[in-house]
Amino acid sequence: MGLKNYISDIYNGVKSLITGMKVTGHYFTHPGEIVTQQYPENRDTLKMFERFRGEVVLIHDENNMHKCTGCSACELACPNGSIEIISGKEIDPETGKSTKIIDTFVYHLSMCTFCNLCILSCPTDAIKMAQGFEHSVFDRSKLTKVLNKPGSKIMPGIK
């Protein structure tokens, strides 16, 4: 009885190992089913999904115009303080009225958790999440970005 058990144990053990090896052997002989992506090499063809949240950008059109009014709703919505809006004043030469505009839109990428709350809070849809994900830099200070491009202006009609 003991010997019979012993032999059947060995038989079942070896059989279970072979069952597992059959799976790995199948993939070894069918290289077409391998799904690995060669990442840095496929950079040109790699396309991220449209909703992927990589970084916050301020949308500029071809005339270097953006839609940000400097209302700082995004600054308030941000849980980590990664957005800082420094606003300035612009005086209309015709009417003499002063309006609030953004001076600098500071974005601390190093503090951002990509929660998308700033995008949802923006009343004018001035900011969006871009798909870039290669954020590594050699110096931490480079992760603090100014999002409004130099010389950019607010689009007319946005309030």
Binding site: S16, V23, T24, R51, F52, P79, L117
Partner: protein
């Protein structure tokens, strides 16, 4: 050496003595920064004492300064493998407090994505479990299938791991047009691939030897320690929140509560594998019947919960997550407490590991499916 000499040798040999070993905080099989202080007698474990605090980020305290919308993204960072369920728990709690009517569409979307999250969590667990016991292959296979789910998340939710897809009142965006097709494709694919998991690991003689009758947890202990989730159900403790206290769309789907009575590592393993089948069943029932409607109920920009206490529990991939909010009618909560499944599950580790060999501790911990940021918060 004669027999007599041998006996005197043993008798005069120096006495064995208990000693201590630190396992972690930088140990690959603790899956994070968990430190276990082991008291050993030779190779036999006498006592396991977990030391926490290495990844404490004071999430509960941070919640006290954040608005209710902002709290949600913090829960992503607790149990990152079941982030959607964590988000859902907070949102359900806030919605309960507001007495908000949630669109049917939201409930179904939340349930589908919860189950996908559970699947991806179990796939990762399966891969890591094999790796802990010395089989690198399983890790790669688990990640291969998980990648398809992260693709679904990336397309619909916008992120692969910390999705933050829930907002109080609904979900952040409507589902992507490809969502249903991708999910159905995945289910057909994974129904073919899941038997491979059994072939690779479940029947394997080395694996069964290392998991059967190891790390026994009795039903009584499971209840008294509050071990929930697949780990608790493997000991015979029927604790599935989805079944007992249905939330979202779980009341309208049919699925089996997986219960094993063995209480050993193999039972916990089997419970999770079976749960993957059940999750697929739930998704299949819902994916074609997503009701039309809004993806978000209207909420005020500043949410203020009426004064009082609110509690909501959900079933995450690890067990029961409870969210307890005390509100004093301000825009941020007065106190938030998370009852995380990992913490309670870990507390039973001592009972399970005592008397076993040190190598079995790795198997025991692995079947508990510990996520350390969940334990520490």
């Amino acid at each position: 050496m004669t027999e007599q000499e041998l006996i005197t040798n043993i008798e005069t040999a120096p006495e064995t003595q208990e000693y201590f070993i630190n396992m972690g905080p930088q140990h690959p099989s603790t899956h994070g920064v968990l430190r276990l202080l082991l008291t050993l007698d030779g190779e036999i474990i006498k006592k396991v004492e977990p030391h926490l605090g290495y990844i404490h980020r004071s999430i509960e305290k941070m919640c006290e300064k954040d608005s209710y919308q902002q709290i949600v993204h913090l829960t992503d960072r607790m149990d990152y493998l079941s982030c959607h369920m964590n988000n859902e728990a907070v949102c359900l709690c806030v919605e309960n407090g507001l007495q908000l009517e949630i669109p049917e569409r939201v409930k179904v979307i939340r349930t589908i994505i919860s189950e996908l999250t559970r699947l991806s969590s179990h796939q990762l667990w399966w891969g890591v479990m094999g790796m802990d016991l010395g089989a690198i292959t399983t890790f790669l296979y688990g990640f291969r299938d998980r990648e398809l789910i992260t693709d679904i998340f990336e397309e619909t939710c916008g992120a692969r791991l910390t999705m933050n897809y829930n907002v109080p009142g609904g979900v952040m965006f409507d589902i992507h047009p490809n969502f249903q097709k991708r999910t159905k494709d995945f289910i057909t694919y994974f129904r073919k691939k899941l038997p491979e998991y059994d072939e690779l690991l479940t029947g394997n003689v080395i694996f069964t030897e290392r998991t059967k009758d190891i790390g026994y947890l009795s039903k009584e202990d499971a209840i008294s320690y509050g071990v929930t989730g697949p780990s608790g159900r493997a000991s015979g403790f029927a604790c599935d929140v989805r079944k007992r206290f249905p939330y979202s769309a779980y009341d309208r789907v049919e699925f089996k509560e997986i219960i094993y009575t063995e209480g050993d590592c193999f039972a916990r393993y089997k419970a999770r594998i079976d749960e993957m089948w059940e999750s697929m069943k739930i998704i299949e029932q819902l994916i074609d019947n997503i009701p039309e409607g809004e993806h978000k109920a209207k909420t005020k920009a500043v949410i203020k919960l009426p004064e009082g206490e609110y509690y909501q529990r959900v079933e995450t991939a690890r067990g029961e997550l409870g969210v307890y909010i005390v509100s004093d009618n301000k825009k941020s909560p007065y106190r938030v407490k998370f009852r995380s499944p990992g913490f309670s599950n870990l507390s039973a580790l001592d009972t399970m590991a005592r008397g076993n060999k040190i190598a079995d501790l790795v198997a025991t911990m692995s079947t508990l499916d510990l996520v350390i940021p969940d334990i520490d918060r």
